[in-house]
């Protein structure tokens, strides 16, 4: 392990692409971790999953139109969120069912489009991501979007906290609750789309949910939860990338497994609620 670590550090100083991959993964770990806190506290975990899967047709259409996949993906991400709330508001279908219908349909459409059009899109890359092959333009986009999202959370923290905890009080005291809802959906979509390169469609939700859920188990203060979640996200990215390079494994899946391992450890061993402590307590 020691030599592997030395090799990894050596590789980092030798190969620019590896350094870039590391920065990108860390920044995504931080921004996904922070957005994820609001996502899990608002019970939107499934929504995040739905949006990430449903951007696929957007990626294909962007390719057809010769534009950056970002635009198509964002458009389909927002379309997904809107369709789900539209079905919920105009029928008695509950939101988990609406989510299931919309995302599977969009995912299926995306797969047809990608396999039928003669495209250079590598379905595998979109589904599972590969941060090591990230293009410079996508990397910069990731930095910019992450910056915007983090700044939004910083500026509107007060409003995000109040609407997430007590929506009714927020509404009664005149806060634009709907506006904040849309803001969160847009942040969720943007951050999901830029994460595609790193962990892929299938696993994006892990970066959003797992670090936030781990932090949720560890603290009873929202600001601490945000920082912890960001830290856990970044740590998963670094360790994941190291293991992926050292053992020649796909980066996205390794990052996800590292995050899940941290969650499992905290779930079992955290002092307050950890199962392991409970089992040994007299």
């Amino acid at each position: 392990m020691g030599t592997a670590l030395l090799n990894f550090i050596n590789d980092l100083s030798t190969y620019a692409f590896l350094r870039h991959a590391l920065y990108t993964a860390i920044i995504l770990g931080v921004s996904c971790g922070m957005v994820g806190c609001f996502i899990i506290l608002r019970g939107l975990a499934l929504m995040g999953d739905a949006i990430s899967h449903a951007v696929l047709p957007g990626v294909a259409i962007s390719y057809l139109l010769h534009i950056s996949y970002f635009y198509g993906a964002v458009a389909f991400g927002l379309l997904t969120a809107l369709s789900i709330s539209f079905i919920g508001q105009h029928s008695k279908i509950k939101s988990d069912a609406a989510i299931g219908i919309v995302f599977s349909a969009f995912l299926a459409l995306g797969i047809i489009l990608i396999t039928k059009i003669q495209s250079a899109i590598n379905l595998n890359n979109i589904l599972f991501g590969n941060v090591l092959t990230i293009k410079e333009s996508d990397r910069i986009l990731t930095y910019v979007i992450s910056g915007i999202v983090l700044l939004t959370i910083f500026l509107f923290f007060k409003e995000l906290m109040l609407t997430t905890f007590d929506r009714v009080m927020a509404q009664a005291s005149g806060l634009p609750v709907k506006f904040i809802d849309y803001m969160i959906m847009i942040m969720l979509t943007l951050i999901t789309v830029v994460s595609l390169q790193t962990v892929g469609v299938i696993l994006v939700v892990s970066l959003l949910i797992t670090p936030a859920a781990t932090a949720y188990l560890l603290t009873q203060k929202l600001t601490t939860m945000l920082w912890l979640s960001a830290l856990i996200g970044a740590l998963s990215a670094v360790v994941g990338l190291f293991l992926s390079v050292t053992y020649n494994l796909p980066s996205g899946v390794v990052i996800v497994l590292v995050a899940a391992s941290i969650f499992t450890f905290v779930f079992l061993f955290n002092q307050k609620t950890g199962l392991a402590w409970k089992a040994f307590r007299p």
């Binding site: 500026l155 109040l162 005149g174």
Partner: protein, 241 residues
């Protein structure tokens, strides 16, 4: 004055919860809202606040209520908040100061002092660092009342604040509300326990699908009005043959 004109609440499933309710209440008063279950008491509050689809309007000091949103505090009927939310008692009270802070401003010394004072008025200063889930139902209700104090609201609407809470908490909340009313607040409380009505409220609104009676407690609280409100015709009081 708080005046409610022609307030009707109809839900999207077609239920008419409230029809053409009219009421006028003086400022600096504490009013009980009494009526049978499903009689539209909660809808009355939500209609006033504009939280549900409604017709008619509510004016406070001659202005539409949405202009007073920052000065309006509302505590919902229990059970809708996430008690596992990562928030301490103190921070929860501090939320009361958010509406008046405006965008981009963080709570500072003044707000923290307000929250601290509010917490001590409900007798929970010692619990300020606890997570809200560690409190009893009555203690948490006192925290929500402290939050409306920190908001320095002029209009306070409470939906069944005494359901399922301990006697001590109820006493503390009632005497605090009466103090606030003296200090100038206008308070409306949905309540179901008729036995305490005379001690708690200086005004009453009796509601069953619409306003049956409104006015000072000593006038409105009559057998006749209560029978009308609770649909208790004299017949049901007779022994069955």
């Amino acid at each position: 004055m708080l005046s409610i004109k022609d307030l009707s609440v109809t839900y999207s499933n077609g239920t008419h919860a409230l029809e053409k309710a009219d009421a006028s209440l003086p400022e600096s008063s504490i009013t009980g809202i009494i009526g049978p279950n499903g009689g539209g008491k909660s809808s009355f509050l939500k209609g006033i606040l504009g939280l549900v689809p409604h017709k008619g309007q509510a004016l406070f000091k001659g202005q539409a209520l949405d202009k007073f949103a920052k000065n309006t505090a509302y505590v919902e009927q229990k059970g809708n908040l996430d008690m596992d939310f990562p928030i301490s008692v103190e921070q929860c009270v501090l939320l009361g100061t958010y509406p008046k802070l405006g965008l981009l401003k963080r709570p500072g010394k003044r707000e923290k002092a307000l929250a601290g004072e509010a917490l001590s008025r409900v007798g929970l200063s010692a619990y300020k660092n606890r997570q809200i889930g560690e409190l009893s139902g009555g203690q948490f209700q006192r925290v929500l009342i402290a939050r409306t104090l920190a908001q320095e609201a002029e209009l306070i609407l409470l939906d069944e604040p005494f359901v399922g809470i301990d006697v001590q908490s109820e006493k503390i909340i009632v005497s605090l509300l009466q103090e606030l009313a003296k200090e100038g607040a206008t308070i409306l409380v949905v309540h179901h326990d008729l036995s305490k009505v005379k001690n708690y409220f200086d005004h009453l609104i009796l509601i069953n699908k619409t306003v049956i009676a409104v006015g000072p407690t000593e006038i409105v609280y009559s057998k006749e009005n209560l029978q009308k409100t609770f649909d208790l015709p004299a017949v049901t009081l007779l022994p069955s043959s």
